[in-house]
Every structure is written in structure tokens, then in C-alpha cells.
Symmetry: C2
Subunit: 217 residues, 2 copies
Amino acid sequence: MSAKPQEIPEGVIERLPLYLGVLIQLRHDGQSTVSSARLGELTDVNPAQIRRDLTHFGSFGKRGVGYDVPTLVERIQHILGADHIHRLALVGAGNLGAAIANYDGLRQHGFHITAVFDKDPRRVGEKAADTIVHHIDELARVISEQGIKIGIIAVPPEAAQEVADMLTAAGVRIILNYTPMLVRVPPDVTLHNTDPVHELLHTLYYLSRTEDASASR
Amino acid sequence: MSAKPQEIPEGVIERLPLYLGVLIQLRHDGQSTVSSARLGELTDVNPAQIRRDLTHFGSFGKRGVGYDVPTLVERIQHILGADHIHRLALVGAGNLGAAIANYDGLRQHGFHITAVFDKDPRRVGEKAADTIVHHIDELARVISEQGIKIGIIAVPPEAAQEVADMLTAAGVRIILNYTPMLVRVPPDVTLHNTDPVHELLHTLYYLSRTEDASASR
DNA sequence: TAGATTGTTAATCGATTAACAATC
DNA sequence: TAGATTGTTAATCGATTAACAATC
């Protein structure tokens, strides 16, 4: 009630995972320290911006030296809440679901898929990630038993809204939607859409521009 | 040389696909006109912002009435360069590749996957999207023959950079990278990374905040 | 100490929004 | 005409960047 909520700009939070990715790479390469200048090169972010972003959370560097890589990794992980394990629910065990389940980048960041659901009885009982595929009717029970707060939707588009509703009702707070459907969720649930079409349309603009330029006599 | 390049803010270009998605939905529902106010509700964007965004490209509305839905759809598609067909190359025919190939949201926006490649000889010759899987050694030939400018990387992470290099060398200008690897491309190639970890880490911050709040005594 | 690089302030820049005259 | 809603200006807001004193 006395500590103010410290309104952090959205842009800062978006850049932290970017810094983190590069820092983990640096740590892996055995770099012990890194300057904001070097980090700026690697992330295409202005060094002053990096320093300013970090000061929102404290002072992590040493003047004249730079930032200690392992320490900064831990600090950012802590800020993001990525310093402990999170259980995920994956709904849909088709091609897309299988790709996500096999992807171990998630595990490296502490995201463990501990529940997988599918509607198709033939897929129920199969292995996926490190668990067994449940029928979707079990969703509410399994998710609340495990206290899962993060869900991934990888079902056919027409089922997306229904699945989102089920996840929400079961207590999920973050939803990653891999279908192109716009789904509605209550205000206290954070939704992220991952639609290749969106990205393509966006970049397409720049392609059209340069092609027009070279095509125009 | 005389018409100035009309520097359009990045944010504007990012929002256009969002507007387009909703407008296509509205058109499908038979809505003939829409106001910026209504569009604002549906997209969570300030109506003034929508109007201002559109004026970068002309005046498409009618005062007192709103915007004609089919017309605005066509205008935005034209601005983005999505008013004609684009051929795509997909590299990687595993689970993820198959999911992308089967996804018909791409086709609806004029993105046709006309070339698929894989390293595994057992997959070569299989059907994928509307075409046959080629061996990756054929990549340069097929892409340049078809004049493909957009490529999707859906291979194991360790091969990402190599594939990016091959695509770039073959003349591809836009790359969608579905691996978690940070790949390097020349400045005239636009790269988009789609990494679930990034999104999750980002949203996680907000989850941690609210949980801390309720957990702190 | 001299050199380097942070943390932080102040200046710049650009994007968002409110307001309203134009006009359908 | 009265009501609605755009296009556009001007005001606000916030984010980025340059600059530099603090300090390792």
C-alpha cells in the first residue's frame, strides 16, 4: 500500500526476453561480463536504452566494467518470474501440438508441459512431452489439480474459443493461441496470438515497397 | 524521385493486419459499413488512432457514415501488398512444417506454399500443402525458378542458420523463423522470429506481478 | 592514476489522444 | 435540417537518445 506499483513501460518488458536470450548465449560461450555497448550490438538496441531499461529494476552493473553475465541472467529471470518452474497445459495433440511438445526450448526456460489434451479418443493415452494425452473432458479436473496457470491452444480454429473458455474456467491466467481465430477472454486473462499471417502481412508491406521502387521504370 | 518516401511509423503498419482481420470478419458477417468507434471496440485500439492511421494512405471514409467494409478491406490489402498471390517456400516437413502446410489461413490471404523442402530422403516425394517435398539440395534451383521471395524455416534449431543462408542466397527477401535460434541475415532481408518462449516470458512478467500481489500477506 | 562504462538527467523525438470544424 | 462521424489540428504523453558526472 506504500510501495508504489512502479509503472514499467510495456516496451521495457518486451525487451527483457530479448536481452535474456542473448545473455544466456553469452553465458554459454563463457563470457563473464558484457557492456551495454556490446549488448546493444547483439540485440540491435541502443545501449542507453538498455541501461535505462535495467534501472527500472535496480543497478546491476559495475561502472568501468559492465554487467556480470551470470548475475544479469538471474536478475532478469527473477524479474520475469522465469526463475522457477511453470507447468503448462497443451490442448491439441495434432501436428502443431506435437511440434510444441517436442520443442525443448520451453523446458530450458522452466516451462514444463505437464498436461496434454485432445478430443480424438485415438490420441488419448499416447505419449506427448513427458506425459500422457488426456481426453479433453478431463481438462478442468487435471488443470485445477495441478494448479496450472498457462495454457497453449493448438486445436483446429473452430474449436479455439471453446477451448479458451474451458481453460479460463479451469483457472488458467495466460493463454497462447496458436490458431488464427480471435478469441475473447476475461480481462484478468492475458492472451497472446501467434498467427503467421499477421507477421507475413506486416513484413509484406516493406517487401511491396522495395519491389515497387525497383519496378517503377 | 520527387514523391517523398512518406515515412510511415512502424506501429501503423503493425496495426493494419489487425484491422484487416476484423474487417474480413465483418465482411463475412455481412456488415456493409463500420465506424472507427466500432472498429476501435473490436480491436482495442483508440478510434482516433484508427482514423489517423488510415489518413497516412488517403481518406477512405464518409463523414457521418463510417467506412465501407469491402472497400476498406481492399484498400488495406492493397497497401500491404496482400491483394495478389505470393508464393512461399517452406523448409522442413516435420510436425511443425506439416502444421504450417495444412494451415489454410495462409491461403485465404493469398499466401500459397508452392515449394517444400526437407533433408530427410524418406520425406522427399511426399505430398505437403499442394506440392511435393523436394530434397533440400534442390532449394536454390526451385526457389529461383519460381521467383519465390518469402521463406519459412521449420527445421531443427541447429540447422536454422544454414537454411537462412540458403534462402537468402536463393533470393528470398522475407524469412519467418520458427526456430528459437537467432539467425543473422543481410540488411536487405526482413527476418521475423516466432518463438513461443519469447511470448511466454513476456506475459509471465504480468502473471508474477498479480500472483505476488495476492501472495504477499 | 587513467580509462572505461555505468546510472541518471535533460533534450529530443515521435506517437497517442482529445477536440472540433468539415461534411456526409 | 439535425445527427453522426470523419479528417485533421493541436495538446499531451511517453519513450528514446545524447550527454556527462559518478565511480569502478
